[in-house]
Symmetry: C2
Subunit: 226 residues, 2 copies
C-alpha cells in the first residue's frame, strides 16, 4: 500500500543516490508515477501480467508540486520512471518495450518489431494531439476541438487501427506483444481525459481491451485497483 | 535524381498495390519523404552509413497538396515511410531502429537498448514542443516563445543530454547506435526550423554532430546533398 512518507523518502533517496540507506523492501523494481492510470497504467498491466514483483509507487500532485529538487534529479524531470536497483529508466514507451523484451512480448522478426513500434508511436502522436481538447477552458472552443477529434481525427486513425487488428487476429502484431498493453492503456487514457467514446465504435478495439483486461495478473490488478 | 513524374507514379503504385507494374529500378528499398532534411535526414544518414541501396524519393509540397487519395493510402497519411518490396513502414523512429537492427546499431543489452530509446523519445518530445515557436505568426509572441525555448527548455534538456554524452564517451549509448544518427538529425532540424543555436553551447553535442557527419557514407551524402 502507498504511504506518503515512505514514497517521498524512497524516491528522494533513489534519485539522490542514497537508496540503500532507506530500503524498506527486498523488491528491486519500482514503478514511480502519479496516482493516475494515464500513461502509467499500461506499464502496470505489463508488470502484473508478467508476474514481476514491483513497488507501485504513487506520487500525489501536492507532493510533486513542492518537490522541485526531486524533479530536477529525475532523468528529464518527468514521470513515469522505472527504477531497477540503482538504474532509472524514463519514457513510458521505452519502459514498456523493455519490460516486454524480458517477457517475450517483442516480436522476434525485426520488421514485425518495427511495425508494432510504428503503431504505438502513431497512437502516441494521436494522444498528444488530444491535449488541446483536454486543456481548453473555454466551453465553446472545447466543444469545437472535441467535435473535430470525434468526427475526423479518431475515425481517421481508428479505421486504420481497426484494420491492423483485423489483419492480425485481434492483436497489433501477429501475436500478443507489449504494444497490445500500451494500445489498450492509451485508448483508456484518451477516453477518460478527453471524455470521448472510442471502444463502442470500433468493435475490434473493444475486443482487444477486453482481452487484455482478462489476462492473468491484469484481471486481478483491475479487480483490486481503486 | 528526383523526377516528378516517376516519383508520383511510383508512390501511387506502391501504395496502390500495383508496384510491380511500374518498377524502374532493381532497388527494393525506397525512403519516401518531402524534399527536406527534417525528420527524414537521420534516416538518410543511417541508410548511407549502412551502404544500403535505396531510392531517395522526394515528394514536393505542391504534389502532396493535390494528392488526397495518395495520402489516404499511406499507413497513417504521413511521411516519411520506408518501402521495402511490398511492405510499408511508417514513423521515423521505428524506421531508424529497424534499419539500426540490421546494421548492428542497436545495443545488445535490453536495458541499454531501452536507455537509448528513452533519450530519443525525450528529444522527440522536445522537438514537438518547438512546433508552436515555428508556427507562431505574430512576431512578438514568436519572440517570447523562442526566448522560453532558448533560456529554459533547451538548457534543461541539453544539460542532461550533454551529461549522457559525457558518460558514454560521446555517444548516446555505450557505442555507436541508431540513436546517435537520430539525435544529430533532430538537433539539426530544431536548429534550422526554429532558428536556435544548440551546438555552440553544448560542445559534446557539437562533437557528436561532427562525428556522425564524418562517418563513411554520411560524409559523401553530405558533400553531395543540395
Amino acid at each position: 500500500m502507498y504511504q506518503q512518507g515512505f514514497v517521498s523518502s524512497s524516491l528522494y533517496s533513489v534519485i539522490n543516490g542514497e537508496r540503500k540507506r532507506t530500503v524498506v523492501s527486498d523488491m528491486s523494481k519500482k514503478l514511480i508515477y502519479f496516482d493516475l492510470k494515464a500513461i502509467g497504467e499500461p506499464l502496470r498491466y505489463i508488470l502484473h501480467y508478467g508476474g514481476i514483483q514491483f513497488e507501485d509507487v504513487r506520487i500525489s500532485y501536492s507532493e510533486w508540486a513542492t518537490k522541485k529538487k526531486m524533479k530536477s534529479r529525475l532523468p528529464f524531470g518527468k514521470l513515469p520512471i522505472l527504477v531497477d536497483g540503482d538504474r532509472i529508466l524514463n519514457q513510458s514507451m521505452a519502459i514498456a518495450r523493455y519490460l516486454g523484451r524480458g517477457l517475450d512480448l517483442v516480436p522476434a522478426d525485426p520488421w514485425e518489431e518495427a511495425a508494432v513500434d510504428a503503431v504505438i508511436l502513431t497512437l502516441n502522436d494521436l494522444r498528444a494531439s488530444t491535449s488541446p481538447v483536454f486543456r481548453e477552458q473555454d466551453a465553446v472552443k472545447k466543444e469545437a476541438l472535441k467535435k473535430e477529434l470525434v468526427d475526423e481525427t479518431i475515425p481517421f486513425y481508428f479505421t486504420r487501427f481497426q484494420n491492423i487488428l483485423k489483419e492480425n487476429n485481434g492483436h497489433i502484431g501477429k501475436k500478443l506483444t507489449w504494444a497490445d498493453f500500451v494500445f489498450v492503456g492509451i485508448i483508456e487514457f484518451i477516453e477518460e481525459f478527453v471524455q470521448v467514446k472510442i471502444q463502442e465504435n470500433y468493435p475490434a478495439v473493444k475486443e482487444l481491451v477486453n482481452k487484455i483486461h482478462n489476462l492473468p495478473g491484469v484481471k486481478e490488478h483491475i479487480a483490486n485497483r481503486k
